[in-house]
Symmetry: C2
Subunit: 323 residues, 2 copies
């Protein structure tokens, strides 16, 4: 590791700021940025800690992908375009230059993919585990951002992609689950380690979705967030939730799939009139979107399987504070 | 501590967002904000970790003041007006509700003082030490932000307030230094625990200062940052550096005062023509500003005492990575 903070920033992080003159090559106390007229800024912050949000054995590439992915996913759920970010890296004293190099290279790749630029942050040595915090800034045309608030009775509930793959990936990595199909196994691991933010989809849903959230805490819990703040209930059909064949075949995995978190898919609601547009929007956004239920009156989430009520719940899912 | 993250946010943090409708009561994935026309945004991020940036024995009031102060100080050094912030709180599992209450109350007081509002963030349980990260957003009229870059040969070098009080406060708290004057002793501790961001001064220096930085790493190191990025040298007169009588009386403390860090005063340069304006600006900003030297050619910082050269240095000060 470089012997001082300034060399470390100059070597690994300053090159990541080159696209944005307002970053001042990371040589100033802060970055100074222009906002396009007619746009609002969207700001979100997420922290990932070794041993909590990723495994200590995860390679730097997937740790970089995770911290970028979870923050970009929040921008996606708001319908925002990525703009710039600041990064706080709390590094254990022994971290190696090779680790930093690989970490920064992955940040660079993701930046290019999503047109997202590092403009500042902080680098500190921590006596604790590796911890990374990103504050992501996005932009959105004024008044066009998405929100968790706005689901209305009668709206159709959609999810993008497949649900549960991330939770299964964690189980595979922890040797709690064996998946014989090697491609599928890798897909689960990739989903856990390198979430794909549904930015294109979020953008296409501006003016279409009545509410949206990214699934980080688990489908049920994130649906309950939408229901709570929109003051509605929901009915979801288990058989319609898009899951891998591994989940279809092992019945005890469905609970994990819908409660487990780490999907980073979008869960959103659309009026019945506009629901037909979603398959085309999914095609444009390169992700399949599935109808999984309907917004109802009340505050309960009713889980149905093949039309038969399985469970009625008020609140569910992964709770960071009980694990 | 509340049993889940959502209750904790609702109870302690959501009330801090009440002034800003775009914070959506912290119920959404992100905040959505308007930027005044003719303004740029300024973004900066600083992390403080227990045992590194503050003492594990520090009360929640001073920890809140520290993380707010260091970030607001960065906005001050850019000449920005505080706008909003996001906060990542990585809390050890056993943290108590009473601690959180006192912490949030101090955030609230500082918010009111500086017209600064919480709009989002993240709350996680960490197996490591308490760690807090703030991303501060400020605004500045377009093209009027201050910068470390811009000091010119012949400019006069100023500092605000007194230098070294924060470093002395740390020594007092660590029982390495005895200060008999109780008021002075408390002043040192307050300076270490609760830095005062020089926001009014930073704002008044728009269009006046050719360069500015806040002193976090120590006067000499921060001066060397300005010199490096502005491609100039400096001469400073030790006798002109405003220090407490404790430092004046004990000669070995001057080294600590100018290298120690944690001042969070502003160090800035002004052309000789405009230097006369600074005493009035200091009065307006409620902080004394002292001339401590001059910008020179070359890259060296020359330290003079009563006109006699003491030392010539290329780079100096506190290095986060060597402690």
């Amino acid at each position: 590791m470089p012997s001082n903070e300034f060399d470390l920033i100059a070597q690994y992080f300053a090159p990541l700021s080159a696209q944005e003159p307002g970053a001042r090559n990371l040589k100033d106390d802060a970055a100074v940025l222009d906002i396009k007229p007619g746009h609002q800024i969207v700001t979100t912050m997420d922290t990932v800690i070794s041993g909590v949000h990723f495994l200590p054995s995860d390679p730097p590439e997937s740790i970089a992908a995770k911290v970028m992915g979870v923050n970009l996913s929040d921008l996606a759920s708001m319908g925002a375009d990525p703009y710039v970010y600041t990064l706080s890296a709390a590094l254990p004293a022994g971290i190696e230059a090779a680790w930093l190099k690989r970490f920064a290279e992955t940040l660079s790749k993701i930046q290019k993919k999503y047109n997202f630029t590092l403009v500042g942050g902080d680098t500190v040595v921590t006596p604790g585990p590796l911890a990374l915090t990103i504050n992501a800034l996005g932009t959105v045309p004024t008044e066009q951002s998405l929100s968790r608030i706005g689901a209305e009775v009668g709206d159709v509930i959609f999810v993008s992609g497949r649900i549960g793959d991330g939770a299964l990936g964690l189980q595979v990595l922890q040797n709690n689950l064996t998946v014989s199909d090697k491609n599928e196994r890798q897909r689960f691991i990739d989903k856990y380690q390198s979430p794909i933010p549904r930015l294109r989809l979020g953008k296409e849903l501006r003016g279409i979705a009545t509410s949206a959230i990214d699934i980080s805490d688990g489908l049920l819990q994130d649906l309950s967030h939408i229901c709570k703040v929109s003051n509605v209930g929901a009915t979801i059909e288990l058989s319609d939730i898009p899951v891998s064949s591994v989940v279809r075949e092992k019945k005890d995995l469905i609970e994990l799939a819908i409660s487990g978190g780490d999907d980073y898919e979008l869960l959103f609601t659309v009026s019945a009139e506009l629901a037909n547009n979603i398959s085309e929007i999914g095609l444009k956004s390169n992700v399949n979107c599935s109808i999984i239920g309907q917004v109802t009156k009340g505050n309960d989430i009713i889980i149905v399987k093949d039309g038969i009520v399985q469970e009625t719940i008020a609140k569910r899912g992964y709770n960071h504070f009980n694990t």
